[in-house]
Amino acid sequence: MKLLKKGAEADIYLTQWNGSRAILKIRKAKRYRNPILDTKIRKQRTIKESQAISEVKSYGIPTPLVYYANLKKSFIIMQEIPGKPIHDLPNSKIIELSKEIGKLVGMMHKNGIMHGDLTTSNFILYKNKVYVIDFGLSQKTIKSEDHAVDLRLIKEILNSAHAEIMKSTWKNFLLGYKSVVGSSNYAKITHLVSVIESRGRYAAVV
């Protein structure tokens, strides 16, 4: 098995499943974490991830197919999406795709799923389609506040990693998002985003 990526919480390997290429995502024990806490986190996230990936697929969101999940050893075998993370694309492409990303996030929220880790590394462009991956921190929730937490996170990422194109990407993201969730939900959730931001340390008090 070839190690593709040592991620933050899991290692990604290239493997075989029924004769075709597949991805093995394993959450290995972390030495620094207390074993009780560590086991709980790894197991919980493996369950959440395998469930959410399949569930959002049924709402029309492109995700990898889950072939197999092993809760004891905390690994998942899934379809390989051999594209490129949005994070690594040229700026003009990121700006263009932000609208699509906004739509996908809107679809998740509309169906009561919060992704929990919306970064530009967790969207992959493959054959002109944007795939969503990494559902380890996802939650089933219809609360607008939770959806706002999702939005705030991607805003933070755009504002840091993609600072020079922040304005245009965020604008496009919101356009896409609004087109799916509708104006009234959009207004409510974006308002909550600013509420969460104002709770941040030393935020400019409005």
Partner: protein, 327 residues
């Protein structure tokens, strides 16, 4: 070039003198007086500022004496203009303004948080790090991009320092409680499951604080141990996330909580896993001190003139990601 830095954002009043030659900086003196609230209580801003006023003259003269310089030798004066407690900030600003106007020395308002980072970089030699700033006022993950420090993750409510202090005070310790909690935690290895709240690259500690308080009656030591294990694991995880996202090859921890050994042990392990160099600000300079203000002022003086007296502001809320860094 010789500078004086005045720090008074929270419980510490400190003056420091540094000499800058090219890119090198040398701390000639760093004198502090720390306000200690009574056991079980937090900082009272008025009491802290009174403490600062009462000690400012002694700290200043000791600092000059130790460095072997006089006020007339100073090329610039910097003071911490925020973020911090208003009454405390004003004391430092008044000291700096008085010296600046009487002796006609250029004056620089400095962002306290940037000070932590710049001094950490100076003392550890980190070049292009992901920075973890953990203190009573901040819990943030930062990386430098396009002339500004950008936030890659932060706390959504209270800071790690507040979490430790508020918990510590509830079991009768005096702020800052980090050391006491660490000592008591080391006497237990019985982990009690507590809420673990990581939201992407951000953390939230308020739920953890309440939950930990509820297990105090069973065992204070277990509570301390479990609190540290949970909170530091959350921090370590977001550090891992940010490292893998930014692909930085250096990690620098600064701020008062950087002194905690368990935290640095865990982060050391994280760095090993990611093939990343690990830097911790030396314990003496991890917490609030005049040196951090002085060094940042000296850096700013490379590209900017001092400000006029009516521009010498103080502000309680001043996010470091709003500061343009041109040096």
């Amino acid at each position: 070039m010789i500078g004086l830095g005045v720090e008074s954002t929270a419980h510490t009043f400190s003056c420091a003198i540094l000499e800058k030659k090219g890119k090198q900086g040398k701390i000639l003196s760093d004198v502090r007086k720390i306000y200690r609230p009574p056991e079980g209580e937090g900082i009272h801003p008025r009491e802290a500022s009174r403490h600062h006023v009462e000690n400012s003259a002694t700290v200043l003269s000791e600092c000059l004496q130790e460095a072997g310089v006089t006020i007339k030798d100073l090329d610039i004066i910097s003071y911490a203009a925020g973020p911090g407690l208003g009454p405390c900030l004003r004391v430092g600003a008044v000291v700096a303004r008085s010296l600046s106007s009487y002796y006609n020395i250029p004056i620089y308002p400095v962002n306290h948080a940037i000070g932590h980072i710049e001094l950490g970089k100076l003392l550890t030699g980190a070049k292009n790090p992901l920075v973890l700033l953990v203190s009573g006022g901040h819990t943030m993950l930062l990386a430098f991009l396009n002339k500004q420090w950008r936030v890659f993750g932060e706390t959504l409510d209270i800071t790690l320092g507040q979490l430790l202090d508020q918990f510590g005070r509830s079991i009768g310790f005096a702020s800052p409680c980090g050391k006491n909690i660490e000592d008591l935690a080391s006497s237990s290895s019985n982990y009690v499951l507590l809420p673990y709240s990581v939201k992407g690259n951000d953390v939230s500690f308020s739920g953890l604080l309440s939950a930990t308080k509820s297990i105090i009656p069973k065992s204070k030591a277990d509570a301390c141990f479990s609190l540290q294990e949970t909170a530091f694991a959350m921090i370590s995880e977001v550090v891992e996330r940010a490292l893998s996202f930014t692909r930085k090859k250096e990690l620098l921890i600064v701020g008062g909580v950087a002194a905690n050994k368990r935290l640095s042990e865990m982060l050391h392990d994280v760095c090993k896993r990611h093939g990343c160099k690990f830097f911790v600000a030396p314990q003496k300079y991890a917490g609030d001190c005049g040196s951090q203000i002085c060094w940042t002022g000296l850096l700013e003086s490379q590209v900017k003139n001092g400000v006029s007296l009516d521009e010498t502001f103080v502000t309680q809320s001043w996010r470091l990601d709003s500061v343009k860094v041109d040096y």
